[in-house]
Subunit: 152 residues, 2 copies
DNA sequence: CTATATAATTCAGCGATCTTAACTAATAAG
DNA sequence: CTTATTAGTTAAGATCGCTGAATTATATAG
């Protein structure tokens, strides 16, 4: 990687941190959701069907911890938990409508600064940013696809 | 904002979430730092001189909470806490070398996927992404500057 | 000098999450 | 059928961070 791009990435990371982390934590506190809950919510909103151990691996905690966390979220009506017909030891975790709503709000809150930022660009600049981000999104999909199909 | 750009931002947000949140939480657990600690660490690494109440406002918690959290971080050698000569009620919080090291590692860990992603781009694509990100960084500085100079 | 306001700390108590260990249920292997 | 493995749950105990209230020290106002 060329040195100037390396610096750009670093600056971009800093900007991301400074603007999204605080927003995210404040949002969590205001809505009375813990950070683990909100993280689980967002993970579930991106990976439609998860099980307990998958979440445990994702966040680096035991199944017991996930089970307890999810139990509360089921009671709060954020998550629907059902048996997997293929293997009834598995639980299939899916967000409820309410859960999806909260997850989306959380994401919007976290990246609000990015939307605000883009709104002050000229049309030409918007196009430039749009194509660059789309390029990254497409490349990321290429990296993800081979792996995401290799389990179950 | 044009509809296609709006979708691009949304996709980009999703990608960010999916790839950085898990890394970040795993990093925190592996290194035995709590999420609040790591968040404080990162905030301090971006805003060289902070006081207790400033951090409290940033994260939406009481001064007592910040004081206790920082006390631990001082004991761990991550933060240097000293009196403000201008107003000795204030404490000036600055990261130690060790604290800075951890903060940087955390940021690198969190955005590792972005570096990996950029590494598979062609030179031409890299230039494209570089200029788009730099554009956003510059615009963000314009938004921030008026505010960031208004205190102390 | 006295009174008030501000910044930070300390303490007791609460709630949340984590871990380990024991347990139930379902699947896979012999 | 018996045994071992896998997925998830439950319970007990520990830790952590937060709050509210009381306290100390500094700064400002009258």
């Amino acid at each position: 990687m060329s040195p100037p791009l390396e610096k750009t990435i670093k600056d971009w990371m800093n900007l991301n941190m400074r603007n999204s982390l605080g927003n995210f934590m404040r949002f969590a506190r205001e809505k009375n959701y813990s950070l683990p809950q909100l993280s689980a919510l967002i993970h579930l909103s991106q990976n439609e069907e998860c099980n307990i151990s998958g979440l445990g691996t994702e966040f680096g905690v035991t199944n017991a911890a996930v089970s307890q966390l999810l139990e509360k979220m089921v009671q709060q009506g954020l998550v629907h938990r059902s048996e997997d017909p293929q293997d009834r030891r598995n639980k299939v975790l899916v967000l409820t409508e309410e859960g999806n709503k909260i997850a989306n709000e959380g994401m919007i809150e976290r990246h609000k600064w990015l939307s605000d930022l883009i709104n002050i660009l000229t049309e030409e600049e918007k196009d430039h940013v749009d194509s660059a981000l789309r390029l990254l999104i497409d490349k990321a999909a290429l990296l993800d696809d081979p792996k995401s199909q290799s389990e179950s």
